[in-house]
């Protein structure tokens, strides 16, 4: 066999005390699609970051064409022929397709852009890979699939021989996915090496020659796609035993608190039926692109559905404003505490009282003493470690910010809580405390919908787990009885394609 195009051996990288990669080896041959899979936090992103020169490994070697190389920055990666298409696109939306493909490398003469030449070259690049995209359109005016192709064309125009694709289909429709997979097959036929990172195992099995599974920063194994199955890949990805969910008092779900029927939003999700009962935590699972966040935001009143109905305690509701939703006892706790959750420049107290200002005011004047009391009470109840309630919320640690965010919305005593990634970026101790808060809240009678990409979290707190894929609910499993594998299989769509059986 020919020498590998790319070979990593024994690559390790630690961030603080977290071992993001531990002795990982990976190789790629010309004309091969090599898929890289693993759960969130398995080390895929770090591996890509190493290959693109964003992160320097602590140890290990990288060789291209058998020659040892050091990738000390994105420019170096480009010079070595490594092209990358990241999950978050890096295009300038108001510029044309041609300008984007040759961003920073526009053909010029005496300081003036040679527009004709630019368009000709852009057409050449797109044509070479069978992409039919008008080069004079602005990127903003293109559908998501075409934008993804422009990004790929941009990477290819740099004479790349190695293409890294990070979740390339997460925002695409089925037709667009087909087009993209067609392009990847063509690149492969031309002798390029493609590293394909995706959550969607059905795609991975269609396109990949070999599949490498990472888990907790370690290499689990590399196998030819033909010699493995979806269920064995899922088992490799999940790997560990289920952590026992602790001190979970038996809850008996009560009456239906929120009922969604036939809920749809164009381009996001369709025909969603969902019930939340009081004294119940329902987990909502789904991979990137499953639209679980869009559904949660709609239920939380941030967006109005295009069709379908939501009933809160029997009366039909037309959502569309968080303020109206809150008046009905529905709160949405967002996943991004910095941009949507907290007022980082305002004090802990200001954050703790914002949702209950009306109750703390008389004749339009805020009662300062009551505000302080409410804030102190919130800090105690949620065990928020703050050196003072007059310090800005931004001075707290991530876990304490997360707890403050919960305190802020739970101060309204909501009957229905929709919480998105309740423990995003917090340490284990804070995570445990937050889980216990959610459990206690449910025991006290609230209906909770917890959206999370962390399956262990959902298994630990949920009474049942609803699984979404590509904008639809594809199944519901019992919270206690379920396994990660079962959920992953539903979320990744293996059952849908008839590949693999239950382990």
């Amino acid at each position: 066999m020919a020498a590998p195009l790319l070979a990593l051996s024994g690559v390790s990288k630690a961030f603080g005390t977290t071992q993001a990669l531990a002795g990982v080896s990976f190789d790629l041959y010309p004309g091969e699609v090599h898929a890289l899979v693993g759960e969130n936090g398995a080390g895929k992103s770090t591996l890509l970051a190493v290959l693109t020169g964003v992160v320097t490994p602590d140890s290990g070697t990288i060789a291209i064409d058998g020659k040892h190389v050091t990738i000390d920055g994105p420019a170096r990666a480009q010079a070595l022929g490594i092209g990358t298409v990241f999950q978050e696109l890096s295009l300038a939306g108001s510029l044309t397709v041609a300008e984007n493909i040759f961003a920073g490398r526009l053909p010029t003469m005496a300081g003036f852009v040679r527009w004709k030449e630019l368009r000709r070259r852009a057409r050449e690049v797109l044509g070479a890979f069978g992409m039919e995209i008008p080069v004079d359109r602005t990127v903003d005016s293109l559908p998501a699939g075409a934008r993804q192709l422009v990004e790929i064309a941009k990477a290819l125009s740099l004479d790349s021989r190695i293409l890294l694709l990070d979740e390339p289909t997460s925002a695409l429709t089925n037709d667009e996915v087909e087009a993209l997979l067609g392009i990847v097959a063509r690149l492969k036929a031309r002798g390029m090496g493609v590293v394909y990172v995706s959550h969607k195992l059905s795609e991975v099995f269609r396109i990949a020659d070999r599949i490498t599974v990472l888990r907790d920063g370690c290499l689990v194994g590399t196998r030819p796609a033909a010699a493995t199955s979806v269920s064995s890949v899922v088992r490799d990805m999940v790997g560990r035993d289920l952590a026992p969910s602790d001190e979970d008092a038996r809850r008996t779900p009560g009456a239906i608190a929120l009922k969604a029927r036939g809920l749809s939003r164009h381009g996001e999700f369709a025909d969603i039926d969902l019930e939340l009962r009081s004294r119940e935590i329902v987990g909502l699972a789904g991979l990137v692109g499953s639209r679980r966040t869009e559904l949660a935001r709609t239920l939380g009143g941030l967006a109005a559905p295009h069709s379908g109905a939501v009933e809160v305690r029997g009366s039909p509701i037309r959502f569309g404003s968080p303020r109206d939703a809150m008046a009905l006892g529905v709160v949405y706790v967002p996943d991004d505490r910095k941009s949507e959750g907290l007022f980082l420049s305002r004090s802990v107290m200001d954050n703790a009282v914002v949702t209950t200002l009306r109750r703390l005011s008389r004749f339009g004047v805020i009662n300062a003493a009551s505000s302080r009391m409410v804030a102190h009470h919130a800090v105690d109840r949620f065990r928020i470690k703050a050196r003072g309630i007059d310090l800005p919320a931004g001075s707290l640690s991530g876990g304490n910010q997360q707890k403050l965010m919960l305190a802020k919305w739970l101060a309204t005593n909501p009957g229905i809580v929709i919480v998105n990634e309740p423990t995003k970026g917090v340490d284990i101790e804070a995570k445990r405390e937050i889980h216990n808060h959610l459990r206690r809240l449910a025991e006290a009678g609230a209906a909770i919908l917890a959206v999370s990409s962390d399956l262990l979290e959902l298994l630990a707190i949920s009474d049942r787990i609803v699984i979404m894929r590509e904008g639809r609910v594809v199944g519901t499993v019992g919270g206690r009885a379920a396994t990660e594998e079962e959920i992953m299989r539903l979320a990744a769509g293996a059952g849908h394609h008839g590949v693999g059986e239950a382990a």
Partner: protein
């Protein structure tokens, strides 16, 4: 900016006081600077410490101070208003027109104020409901309001107003001009409202993080519209008071006033980022700039130099703030 003092847990006080002090630093610094200018000028010029001079300074700063209240509220909410100078001019011509047409004084004044409310309402609706950037929206209304004032007067001042209308501009209560009383009343009232009023506290939340404010159940659009209406109404009031003092409606009044107002509010601690600023701070900013200009006039510094100094003070105030914050971060 804190909700007042109360006995708090021991050990927490150190951080709290340090933070509170940092927040109040701008007002304190300005107060010290103002005292320094007064003392310095008292020594430098025999004419400075006279009742006549102080009266002139205080009457001169009334329009800027009143407009600065609305501007600070808007800045705290994350918006701003370039139309205040034009609204002031339009309001002064409208009140004059109505009076000349024979309208009773209260009717004429109410008409001018309603006009300010209307401009503010349009600004607020265009910004919140259509989503036009506040700079563009209020730049547009600034040009339109000024244009209307010039069109209806054909560029001339409207004088020969009924003598009774001049009362507000001339009257003194306890030796202090009525205009200054009005200004002080508004400054104190709005300062307290911004510190303790539940409605105005929401302004700071919106300025600090509009998305989070919306998700926290605040009626963001409605509150922002009220802030624009307030700014328009206050600018119109300033226009009425100016007309009363000058006994004429002047379509060219308040030219570039919006920039002086903005400068004073920012010197006083408001930020274009939103989420901060106090009415007291803005008022001290207005006083400081007015004193500085007066001092330079007394010292026979050319009017052109005064602009340069005001500009330098503006940049120095903001730069100082940035440096202090960088030190903390």
């Amino acid at each position: 900016m804190t909700f007042g003092r109360s006995q708090s847990l021991a050990g927490l006080d150190h951080g709290r006081q340090a933070f509170g002090a940092a927040l109040r630093a701008r007002e304190l610094t300005l107060a010290v600077l103002i005292v320094a200018v007064v003392i310095g000028m008292a020594l430098a010029s025999p004419h400075f410490l006279s009742l006549a001079n102080f009266r002139a300074i205080s009457i001169g700063l009334v329009p800027i101070a009143i407009c600065a209240i609305g501007m600070t509220v808007l800045l705290a909410s994350g918006g701003f208003d370039l139309s205040v100078g034009s609204v002031l001019a339009l309001s002064s011509t409208i009140v004059a027109l109505l009076l000349i047409a024979g309208a009773p004084i209260p009717v004429a004044v109410a008409g001018a104020l309603l006009l300010g409310v209307a401009v503010g309402l349009v600004n607020g609706l265009v910004v919140t409901k259509i989503g036009v950037n506040p700079l563009v929206a209020t730049l547009g209304s600034m040009l339109i309001a000024r244009g209307i004032a010039l069109v209806i007067t054909e560029g001339f001042s409207l004088s020969s107003l009924p003598p009774a209308f001049g009362w507000a501009g001339r009257a003194e209560i306890a030796g202090v001009p009525f205009l200054l009383w009005v200004t002080l009343f508004l400054v104190v009232g709005f300062d307290l409202a911004m510190r303790h009023g539940s409605f105005f506290r929401k302004i700071y939340y919106i300025g600090a993080n509009e998305k989070a404010a919306r998700l926290s159940g605040l009626a963001v659009d409605r509150i922002k519209i009220v802030a624009y209406v307030l700014s328009g109404a206050l600018a119109a009031l300033a226009g009425v008071l100016l007309a009363s003092r000058l006994m004429s409606g002047t379509p060219t009044a308040g030219n570039a006033l919006e920039l002086q107002v903005l400068a004073a509010a920012v010197i006083g601690g408001a930020s274009l980022k939103g989420g901060e600023g106090t009415i007291l701070g803005a008022f001290l900013g207005v006083i400081f700039v007015a004193l500085l200009n007066n001092a330079m006039t007394m010292l026979a510094v050319s009017i052109y130099w005064q602009m340069i100094v005001t500009g330098a003070v503006l940049i120095a105030a903001v730069a100082f703030d940035m440096l202090v914050r960088r030190g903390e971060g």
